[in-house]
Amino acid sequence: MELMKEKDSRFVNLEKKIGLFVVIAIAGIIVAIFLLGVQQDIFTSKTTIYFIAPSGKNINEGQSVKLSGFKIGKVKKLSLDDIASVKVELSINTKYMKWIKSDSKARRTKEALIGEEIIEITPGSINAKKVEGQGVIDYERVKELSEMAEEIQAEIKPVLTDIKQIISYINDPKGNIKQTLGNIQKLSEDILVTQKHVDTLIQNTDQNLKSTITNVNTLLDSAKTTITNTDNIMKKIDKDIPGIMEKANKTLENVEKTTGEIKKITEQAAPQIPPIIEKGGNIAEGTKDIVDSVKKVWPIRSLIKQPEEKTLKVDSYE
């Protein structure tokens, strides 16, 4: 073997060659890992700030933190403090810290109706002090779906009670409305009697006024018909109103029941909605990532036109 090495020129410095090759390969791997790290923001400078939430419900480690729609960091850690409140530790890209002021507020929100649950930080006022590392910002609690349903029910309930009272008042036999209807009926009966007296009086008047009287009679006949019709209508109304009132009452009861059922359904469905929305959000985000990645792959990227800003064309003739 020693002889072979000495005689064959290709094996001269073989160890050095292999060594050099391995060094180049390792350097390449390190560069690749470094580039991946840069792409994943591992080397970006981060600043840690806190907020205290009454509950850690729907706040998770790794959850996105956004400001004005831009991702500026993520939830780093959750821990319980001495009074059982949740201390949420946020890792924010230092370059975005300039927008986080002492009056900025953190709140849990969704990106859309079907969207990822995120922590949103409101930009503070211009004059407020900047929050430094390890600083604390306020937490703003956002209402849950079931709480909102309860509020709506609480607002609707008195209105329904009022409507019920109004209907009872209309339906009351001793109430003003019922009594007014009775008076109208009595008045129409009196008009009938008066009309009979007028008929008798007219029969005793002068012969010359016969044609006039005939006309008046015709007029009175039509008045009589009208009054009779009115009387009938009144009787019908009087007869139908209790039924209508009863139906209205039942309808209102049904509305009340339905509202209660809606509240129950909402309460039952509420815990299921956030995970579904979260899953949907994850899928959408994953799809976007895939599409974005595919767009960057050669030769697809050469086929996709880069978006650009351009000036509006101002016509020289207009």
């Binding site: 991946l36 990227r301 800003e309 101002v314």
Partner: protein, 315 residues
């Protein structure tokens, strides 16, 4: 030398001969080892490095600015100028935050264009002046030329023909250092100003220059404008046959581009030529065609203008 030593010597000699005759065969196992153990991972590494290299991409902020800008353009095209104004302002704010100089210039000019549409001339001038008078940002000659052209148009809207001409010349001077693509439009504007000042030969010259530039840049809309302006100059010079031919040429281009307002302008122009020639009926025929086009496109101003012309002709 005993037998054993002799045999060893023979073996060595044989090996040397074999290695000279069949060098690869002798060392094949080493090459295979090298290939499998070192070259393969090296190729993998090279492949991964190649795949991992991504092209230069725009920042999130820049992409957001572009998205908003494009929404602004859509709003402008559907005539929703208020929304367009808001969106361009947002895009400008983002471009300022990342100091994208070209983006700042583009959005300022688009804001000026929207303000002009809304009749807010002072606001439009303010946006343009921010580009032209900037001491902190150095905008490209191309953008400065576009801004000057827009300023010239704003002055012409206000009837300040001389100031408009000055700014047109400034716009051209910015273009002399680099190719802008706006020279054709600028010459058209100069031709329009010359027409208004009754400098007909100058208008024809500017129109012809504009036509050359616009043909180079294949800007059909402005090519038709150049031809129409030349037709107007020819009409004013009482060269009616040439004028009519030019109007018809412009109309063909406008029809191909589907620009209804411009087709109506061309028809009115041909009508005016006939009117100058004393052919009232022919003229009316063209005016009615222009009216029909304006009515179909819902152009209220166009309808009013053409109706006014028809009434005057009938009287």
């Amino acid at each position: 030398m005993n037998n054993r030593e002799q045999r060893a010597e023979d073996r060595i000699q044989n090996t040397e001969v074999r290695s000279q005759k069949f060098p690869l065969k002798k060392c094949g196992s080493y090459y295979r080892l090298l290939s499998y153990c070192l070259l393969f991972p090296a190729y993998c590494l090279l492949f991964l490095t190649g795949c991992g290299s991504t092209p230069a991409t725009l920042s999130d902020m820049h992409v957001k600015a572009i998205d908003i800008h494009q929404s602004g353009e859509k709003a402008f095209k559907r005539g929703d100028y208020k929304t367009s104004l808001k969106l361009y302002s947002d895009a400008l704010r983002i471009n300022r935050s990342i100091e994208n100089i070209d983006g700042i210039a583009i959005n300022l000019m688009n804001l000026a264009t929207v303000h002009r549409k809304l009749g807010e001339r002072d606001n439009a001038l303010q946006c343009i002046d921010e580009i032209l008078n900037s001491s902190s940002l150095s905008f490209t000659q191309h953008r400065l030329s576009e801004a000057s052209y827009l300023k010239a148009i704003l002055y012409l809207d206000n009837g300040q023909m001389d100031t408009s001409l000055e700014w047109s010349d400034k716009a051209l001077s910015f273009c002399q250092q680099t190719k802008c693509g706006t020279e054709g439009r600028i010459y058209n504007l100069k031709a329009k100003i010359s027409l208004l000042k009754q400098e007909l030969d100058n208008a024809l010259q500017c129109g012809a220059k504009g036509l050359d530039f616009n043909k180079n840049f294949e800007d059909n809309q402005e090519i038709a404008n150049s031809i129409r302006l030349m037709a107007e100059a020819k009409t004013a010079k009482k060269e009616y046959l040439d004028a009519r031919k030019l109007y018809e040429e412009a109309m063909q281009i406008d029809k191909a581009s589907g620009l209804t307002n411009k087709i109506a302008f061309d028809l009115v122009g041909i009508g005016q030529v006939f009117l100058h020639e004393g052919k009232k009926e022919e003229a009316l025929r063209y005016f009615k065609r222009a009216l029909s086009i304006s009515e179909s496109s819902g152009n209220a101003k166009g309808i009013a203008d053409v109706k006014n012309i028809i009434e005057k002709v009938r009287k």
